[in-house]
Amino acid sequence: MITMEGKKCYINGIGIISPQRTFDNSEFLPEVRSYDNNILTSVTPDFKAYLSPVQLRRLSRMLRIGMTAATICLNDAGIKVPDGIVTATGYGFLEETEKFLKELLERNEKQLTPTFFMQGTYNALAGLVALSVKCTGYNNTYVSKGFAFENALQDCLLLLNADPGVNLLLGSYDESAAVQYKAGMRENQFKKEPVNSLDIFSNKTDGCIQGEGSAFFDLSGEPSASTWCSVEGIQMIYLPESPDELKETINSFLLKHDVQETNVDLVVSGMSGCKSKDQLLENLERVIFINTPRAYFKHLCGEYCTSTSFGLWLASSILKKQHIPETVKASNHTYPSRIETIFMINHYFNRNYSLILLKRKLEVRS
């Protein structure tokens, strides 16, 4: 029997670029963008405000997005140099990989330039962030598809448990690339007909919509002046066999963190809009947290391997702003005005399930 020890961390800053206007932390979903063609792409700021001309020259679109999200996060947390950087991605930098492959095949393996090859490596973002702020500490990148972000968060939790005084930068990125869209279409992952992104839960068809984004979080093992919430714990479940197995796991998870179902103010759920793959989660909603208000988010960001990071941004922003945007409300419950504890559950194509518990940081007495 594996006993899980509670390991928590604090969130001190966030930087996120997504298919919604989320790059400005002073706002909270000021508008809701909808998409009609099943492909969601990022709403980006003016990169010149965040990146140097040298960086802009060399960086691909997704690297610009990732580097900017990291910069926004560090500014938000008031940190110049973190002590470590852990990133996550499912498919990596697909545009650059595709460009290199195309050239390779068209030129029959002759006279190839290195830039696309290098910019296509999975750890390019973690390496470039480290380089730009001269962070010589721990550096890692997870590429475990639907678990990548969760693995990265788990890694951070363990590191912070050992060394609570440090700051870690946790980041994710995934691209709405045509290459991946085609792969997904072949595997029946995406919807066959165009659906408006805001209708994916009422639409009741199979398949998801493709999304993208990059989200960075500054984490510490001890609360700081910038802290507003904590990640109390995380749990991953691979290929659960039934709603009962999930329910049991959730109950042990809550027990371990000394939380009762009734203490949870909001459930943030990664319902994806794919009728068949959402089945387990839908069945679960009938047996646990029946009386708890729910929020969904994938109509805003689409589905991608590291979409849990968007969910984490949403949950932590709700805790910070003490406001639940109308667009994410997904049940008929009365939504609380005070939100202290949020339970997050996400899945990626019914294979990778994750549970995250968040709590608002209580005011520190001066």
Partner: protein
């Protein structure tokens, strides 16, 4: 209570052996995998000899028992061979395998199959057997597929930090065990040769057409290789429950970033130094206690200078024996960390140090010289294994006899 982390099994496949026994024989005999490519279809098959495993995918499928193996990439198949040997060598029951974690590393994933069927895959009007590789290029896929085949469900993670990947997989596995989140973690990596990597590295002008010469003054770059290796990490508590004798202990590790350049290491070897020092400090071991270093030693001008300087800076009183085993296997990229960890474990088991083949000319910038001939009956207790990658990723593992 923090758990000590032991090693209770391992498995490996490289161009010098399809399993542990064959690899060991090659190490002793000095047999290398460097040669012309006969399985990968590339224009560079003769002008950029590499270390290829002379088994076609069909033969790999037979060895792994995956039947028609629909959707199994070469990276997955190689990984599976090594994983199956690791599980068997650790004597894990099905139940124990079920609750284990699998932490695998790769940089290529299924890119070899993707490049082969590139145009067909991207033309949605086309159908055919190639469609089995529709979604196998991404790196995480191989790990889930291997986990599903052998029945692992406890923890699944894939890591990709260039050439330090599988070392980092081992480090994370150790972290999960010492923090009581897992009893057993099977960690390592797998990498198949591909046009993508051969041409990618060639475009950086760091590939040598000749057999590589690590730490040699005339070195001109690396040779690429393919392979896979996994080591079974186990907590002290699990060891005792299973009454198992460990092969070795993973006593310490270090992970740092050079933060110097995207694809080059600092000439002073700052990242290398940090990673090695961290490994020593985490194990409470002094530099004087290190008996041998398995160097990353890719034979690029940059790495060997950087790493050599890093070693000299850390081991100021006495530099341990050191060598790079990459002339045997080539540079197996993500799998290098775990392949070389297995070579270190074999060294500990047999009290042998593998030579740094092809070394002839001293680098004037360094005062240290690698081991040139096979050493037997060496008293080996503490070994460091280095793995450094693009993006400044530097990792080091400290292995100790149990």
């Amino acid at each position: 209570m923090s758990q000590r982390v032991f090693i209770t099994g391992f498995g490996i496949i490289t161009s010098v052996g399809n399993n542990t026994a064959e690899n060991f024989q090659s190490l002793v005999k000095g047999r290398c995998g460097y040669g012309e490519l006969s399985i990968l279809d590339t224009i560079h098959r003769t002008n950029l000899p590499s270390c290829e495993i002379k088994l076609h995918d069909d033969e790999l499928k037979k060895l792994t028992g995956v039947g028609d193996g629909r959707g199994y990439t070469r990276t997955t198949l190689l990984g599976l061979i090594a994983l199956q040997e690791a599980i068997s060598s650790a004597g894990l029951t099905n139940k124990e395998v079920h609750s284990s974690g699998l932490l695998s590393a790769t940089t290529t994933g299924g890119i070899r199959e993707f490049e082969r069927h590139f145009y067909d895959l991207l033309d949605l009007s086309k159908e055919g057997p190639f469609a089995q590789f529709a979604d196998t290029a991404n790196p995480g896929e191989h790990c889930e597929r291997m986990a599903d085949k052998v029945g692992i469900k406890g923890y699944i993670a894939t890591i990709s930090t260039a050439c330090s990947s599988s070392a980092n997989a081992i480090i994370q596995g150790a972290q999960l065990i010492s923090n009581n989140l897992l009893d057993v973690a099977i960690c390592g990596g797998s990498e198949a040769l591909s046009k993508f990597t051969i041409n990618g590295f060639n475009s950086l002008m760091i590939v040598d057409a000749e057999h590589c010469r690590p730490f040699d003054n005339t070195r001109m770059g690396l040779n690429l290789g393919e392979g896979a290796a996994y080591i079974v990490l186990e907590s002290e508590a699990s060891l005792s429950r299973r009454s198992k004798t460990p092969i070795a202990e993973l006593k310490g590790y270090g992970n740092a970033n050079d933060a110097f350049h995207q694809t080059a290491s600092s000439p002073e070897g700052t990242g290398a130094l940090h990673a090695m020092k961290q490994a020593l400090d985490s194990a409470n071991v002094s530099p004087l206690d290190i008996d041998y270093i398995n160097a990353h030693g890719t034979a690029t001008e940059n790495n060997d200078l950087s790493e050599g300087n890093g070693i000299q800076s850390l081991f100021t009183e006495k530099v341990p024996y050191f060598s790079s085993t990459k002339p045997y296997t080539g540079h197996t990229l993500a799998a290098a960390g775990s392949i070389e960890a297995v070579y270190c474990l074999l060294g500990l088991q047999h009290q042998m140090i593998w030579p740094n083949l092809n070394f002839q000319h001293q680098m004037p910038e360094l005062s240290i010289t690698p081991v040139r001939k096979l050493m037997e009956n060496v008293r080996l207790k503490h070994i460091l294994s280095n793995s450094f990658g693009f993006g400044g990723n530097t990792s080091s593992l400290l292995l100790a006899s149990a």
